[in-house]
């Protein structure tokens, strides 16, 4: 069953999974060479949604580039906004008011939960269960309502500004978020019953899709994929940015390295995000949300700058090379799933196609972020 079998190459055929395939969550294509239902090897073909984000950075001014961040990873757009805001703030040396930092954290964490909910729903859909998707989207709608009331959009937020935010949150948002936290704690219990404990799911995930630590290092896997393999790495904790050091939260780590471990990491992360939001709401200071002195025109001094944030999928890094002009000279977006997906090729060999697709789902792919 699960033990790797020796495959003979002479009886293989090529199965194209994608670019349009229900399991690839978008337009990813995996050329699988199959021996029966076993995968002999897999070659991932990217670029079906390459949207020239890096080139556009050279054509747009720094504020104009902000909306692109929401389109990179549409599920956790806030984190990407945050990363970009961080690197420009670092380059221009802009101070961010305390209140803005707290609101940033709250929205980012809410967005992280929303992102994980989409993943959970879509993942169980990959495994053939349809109903959890509906529940997840229903819960997610409540987050989207909260965020829409603040940011004005449901998905591709463009809420952060350099040094601050587009607008302030109101009391409705705070009460709404608190209500959501209580509601969602209950829902998490429900998911644990409906999905996590399900024997079919466990059978499909436990022991499948092994990723070990060395593999993570070689491929640069981060986020839940690394944490599912026993690597205690979370940018929020290891390389603290914003006001994350103020909060008491745990980084869930599971050592099994299988699909189920990654699954549990994400489920646990939702719980931790709730904790962070709760603390942030308690500590939320008053004050302005935009800095008093902010350069009229964003023109970072020449040099290169780097910033990393923890998105829902892992370590998102931005390398920005400035030549002192209005536009960036070069903007490199280091997206987490790009590295996470890369290890699929190696890890899926000898797997059954059903397991491989379950494994692929456990990597939590967002294709536009990989293709950029």
């Amino acid at each position: 069953m699960t033990e790797p079998i020796t495959l003979q190459q002479d009886e293989t055929f090529v199965l194209n999974v994608g670019p349009q395939h229900p399991a690839t969550h978008g337009v990813l294509r995996v050329k699988m060479t199959m021996d029966g239902e076993y995968i002999y090897n897999a070659e991932t073909v990217l670029g079906y949604i390459h949207r020239m984000h890096e080139k556009m950075a050279e054509n747009r001014t720094y504020p104009q580039y902000m909306p692109n961040m929401g389109r990179l990873d549409y599920l956790s757009a806030m984190s990407f906004n945050h990363g970009y805001a961080l690197v420009v703030e670092r380059a221009c040396n802009i101070e961010v008011p305390e209140r803005a930092e707290y609101i940033r954290v709250i929205t980012v964490e809410l967005n992280r939960i929303a992102s994980h909910l989409v993943w959970l729903g879509a993942y169980v859909l990959d495994l053939g269960g349809f109903t959890p998707l509906m529940y997840c989207f229903d819960d997610r709608e409540q987050i989207l309502d909260l965020l829409e009331a603040v940011t004005g959009s449901r998905l591709t937020y463009c809420y952060f500004r350099f040094g601050g935010l587009y607008n302030d949150i109101d009391d409705d948002f705070i009460t709404g978020t608190r209500a959501f936290i209580t509601h969602f704690r209950k829902e998490l219990k429900m998911y644990a019953k409906l999905v996590t404990g399900n024997v079919i799911l466990m059978k499909r995930l436990k022991g499948h899709g092994p990723v070990d630590q060395n593999m993570c290092q070689r491929y640069g896997a981060t986020g839940p994929v690394a944490r599912g393999s026993g690597i205690n790495y979370d940018v929020r904790r290891n390389e603290p940015y914003s006001v994350y050091p103020d909060f008491d939260f745990e980084v869930p780590v599971f050592t099994e390295g299988d699909s189920y471990a990654r699954y549990l990491v994400r489920m646990e992360e939702m719980e931790q995000s709730l904790r962070i939001i709760e603390q942030a709401l308690d500590k939320l200071p008053d004050g302005p949300i935009n800095p008093k002195k902010k350069p009229k025109l964003i023109k970072p001094p020449p040099g290169d700058y780097f910033a990393a944030v923890e998105t829902a999928r892992g370590n998102f890094g931005i390398r920005m090379v400035s030549d002192g002009g209005k536009n960036a000279y070069r903007m490199k977006l280091r997206s987490p799933t790009y590295s996470n997906m890369h290890l699929f090729d190696e890890a899926c060999r000898g797997m059954l196609i059903a397991d491989a697709l379950a494994f692929m789902g456990s990597l939590d792919l967002v294709i536009p972020e990989m293709d950029r």
Partner: protein
């Protein structure tokens, strides 16, 4: 052998747990919003496409400074104005928004220092013609005034 039956039992129990969860949802009222029959009201910060704000006389506040045009990442705004004889400010004569390339980032509204722009609440646009979304906002303002 003990493991065999334990596995069977825990497996069956987890399945029943799951079935109980879905069964509880079965008789509940759906959360659905029956869209064409009822519709949600937009949040004050909702970002539809932009529209011009009219002052008391129903004229636009715009003084044709082109800040919005410059702030727009995707260049979807084009505007023109003339300076009538004897007036200090320019008067807007044309304000075209190509909504199909807009990314609803809000830069234009933010950059406007004269309270001339705001987001509309048009959330359910759909048409069989692409040209419907290249909007003449001045015309829209006039229609709103009526």
């Amino acid at each position: 052998m003990g493991g065999y039956f334990t596995e069977l039992f825990t497996g069956a129990k987890s399945l029943l747990d799951g079935m109980w969860v879905t069964l509880k949802e079965f008789p509940r009222r759906p959360v659905t919003l029956n869209y064409p029959h009822e519709s949600v009201k937009m949040y004050p910060r909702f970002r539809g496409h932009i529209e011009l704000i009219g002052n008391q006389e129903g004229k636009s506040n715009c003084i044709v400074c082109s800040m919005c045009q410059r702030a727009c990442p995707s260049g979807c705004i084009s505007l023109a104005g003339v300076k009538p004889e004897g007036e200090k400010k320019k008067v807007l004569t044309k304000y075209i928004l190509d909504f199909t390339t807009c990314s609803l980032c809000g830069s234009c509204v933010e950059s406007c220092n004269f309270n001339a722009l705001r987001f509309s609440n048009e959330y359910n646009l759909a048409s069989t013609r692409k040209e419907d979304f290249i909007m003449d906002l001045l015309k829209r303002l006039e229609e709103q005034n009526q």
